[in-house]
Amino acid sequence: MLLIKGGRIIDPAGRRDETGGVVLEDGKVKDLISGPGAPKGFEGTVIDAAGKWVVPGLIDMHVHLRDPGYEWKEDIRSGTAAAAAGGFCSVVCMANTKPVNDHVEITRYIREKSEREGFANVFPVAAVTRGMEGKEMTDYAELSEAGAVAFSDDGRPVASSLLMRRALEYAKAFDLLILSHAEDAEMSHGGAAHEGWTACRLGIPGIPSAAEEIAIARDILLARLTGGKVHIQHISTKMGVDLLRMAKRAGLPVTGETAPHYFTLTDAAIEGYNTNAKMNPPLRPEEDRMALLEGLIDGTIDAVATDHAPHDDYVKRCEFIEAANGIIGLETALPLTLALLAGGKVAPGRAIELLSANPARILKLAGKGSLRKGADADVTIIDPDAEWEYREADVRSKSRNSPFFGWKLRGRAVVTIRGGRVTHSLLAGVTAGA
């Protein structure tokens, strides 16, 4: 038995925000306690969370673990260690491994290896099309039974409107979710940064916002046509947020996420040909960043997901247009998201919705995203006031591709508990592995 006492329990899905305790036993939330003290006669381990937030274990619904196939960039062990250090109890990994996760054997491999070696729950996403080639559907029902929680060709958008229509339509039979990497790849082809003033000045071929927005609009229209559920990944533009807002007002089964870098940085970060500011979709101008913040605050955007994309040094240590896309994000997502709370317009519960409750709801992860009695014993303890510097030497991921080194961050996961076991701790007297 483990008691976390005296913290501020923030559980938006359970409609709870109060000082209290959580009792964990046998991998589940056994009991909830009101007030700061321990129950009379409690025998077991006690973690004193006074001054901290106690929240349902964070869920990152968009990561690349690179396993199988690119284990030198990241593997299930290192990726989930980074997740735990960042406060995440669960990660949802994309299908662009090698081989692509388009077959039950790969899905099972990811599940089994993560159960054996992982420091976080790993929920695989399977490909929408075989080999992510955009031609034939994968076996959705079988993959779902093997553990795939959703389907996405993330990294290679589904170019064919017809195939996307069929996928959304067919997936309805099993109530499955398609995640859309929304990009008109013909329009973005050759581009390496947002098409705007910065790229123009630096002579970098541009990717217009419309390349993303056309695809978002298409997939919303296909959701309308088919009634199939679609979740828009890594929204980076103002019009993308506006389209999602419109779809929700129309009652369509559409949700969306963005990543911390899109609401923290702008395309000015590529100045000096900084390849750690190169990602797809690209960083956008301030106007888009502001619209993303607004969408996160008003509830249009459902989730913050990192798009954690580890890359070895040499594919970033090169010419800008040649450099690989993406950055690691698991260890910085929490403080960058908590920055939304500065200014007091947003309650802490909103950040927890974005990082836990909503991903669990969207992906229908049973027992996740809430601290209700009987929920899984996944808990993140956050020190909202911790000030710390993100340093390259402290990174748990195998890769080092981050634009945030040297940043002074505020807010940090001090303890991560997954299934009742501590996977990460900065608190004296609380040991990981216990």
Binding site: C200, Y273, E319, I321, E322
Partner: protein, 312 residues
């Protein structure tokens, strides 16, 4: 004039101050005097080595740098990607590190990726001159255009200068915006909307799709080479239409000032962006640009190799 020259690299004109550009031009002027001599060679850079590291086909720029170096008695070595191991998949950094290990003083780099010389400058200890990187900059061209116009017009400030063609992909434009723009010219950029981004107006230049508006009362008209393969990627319908609407011919050029001059960074597509007769007319300064280019590149090599300590 004494200007403190502390640059180790010439990566672009983006951060060049006006005084620095004037200093390069002054130095080029004294270099040009060497070129009028019978024996066109001075020992200023004896014992120094410059490597032309070219990852893109180029004859004139490479030759211009080579001649500039040789006039100063530097050893100039050519390395072009067609004969390098780049085609076997070596990274740019590895290639540059290998060349650097042979202890050159200056690397002169031409590369199709914008920012490639900036990237290498963080890793090598020798000097780097950017001889054109992607669509970013071509600083020696920006300086030689400046020098050519000063020789033709005696000044830059107050001139109307039209630049016509593929603005979007042009590194010459981006360097000219810094050199000519910062010296006070009024710049007009013209091309079809697919090749003339409006964002460029943030530099203070004007963007127009009407060549007549750009050329009217201009003192200088700079025509850019149109890459013939752009047509295949549908930036414009046909070379014929491009030539008729965005090419410079007698009719359009008659709108410019009577003493206006024509420039072109070369190589020219005769009859496409520039009519055959104008290319060779009395007002063409195209070959003067090539001539100024050697002097400007001598100046850059000289300044980077530290020769100015003795001279000033």
């Amino acid at each position: 004039m004494t200007v403190e020259w502390r640059r180790r690299h010439v990566l672009g004109l983006a951060d060049f101050r006006v005084e620095e550009m004037e200093f390069v031009i002054d130095t080029a002027r004294s270099m040009e005097e060497v070129l009028t001599r019978d024996i066109k060679k001075v020992p200023a850079l004896r014992g120094k080595t410059a490597v032309n590291l070219f990852f893109e086909p180029s004859t004139r720029t490479r030759t211009s740098f080579e001649i500039a170096g040789k006039r100063l008695s530097a050893d100039v070595v050519n390395f072009s990607s067609a004969t390098s191991s780049v085609t076997k998949g070596e990274t740019l950094l590895d290639t540059a590190k290998n060349i650097e290990a042979m202890k050159p003083n200056i690397l002169i780099i031409r590369h199709p990726a914008s920012g490639a010389p900036h990237f290498l400058s963080r890793f090598v200890s020798c000097s780097i001159i950017n001889a054109g990187d992607g669509a970013n900059e071509h600083p020696s061209q920006g300086l030689l255009d400046l020098y050519t116009i000063i020789k033709a017009k005696g000044k830059i400030s107050g001139l109307k200068i039209a630049i016509v063609g593929d603005i979007l992909h042009s590194r010459v434009v981006r360097s000219d915006l810094h050199s000519l723009g910062r010296m006070g010219a009024s710049l007009w950029l013209c091309g079809p909307p697919t090749l003339a981004p409006r964002e460029m107006e943030r530099t203070g230049a004007k963007v127009t799709y009407d060549i007549r508006e750009a050329v009217r009362n201009a003192d200088v008209v700079i025509m850019l080479r149109i890459q013939l393969e752009r047509q295949k990627t549908a930036y414009f319908p046909s070379l014929r239409e491009y030539s008729r609407k965005f090419g410079l011919n007698r009719d359009v050029f008659s709108l410019a000032k009577d003493d206006a001059v024509i420039m072109h960074p070369g190589p020219i597509n005769r009859g496409i962006e520039l009519s055959d007769d104008l290319a060779d007319c009395a007002q063409s300064r195209i070959l003067n640009q090539v001539e100024s280019g050697v002097a400007v590149r001598m100046a850059l090599l000289y300044l980077l190799a530290g020769g100015h300590d003795a001279a000033h």
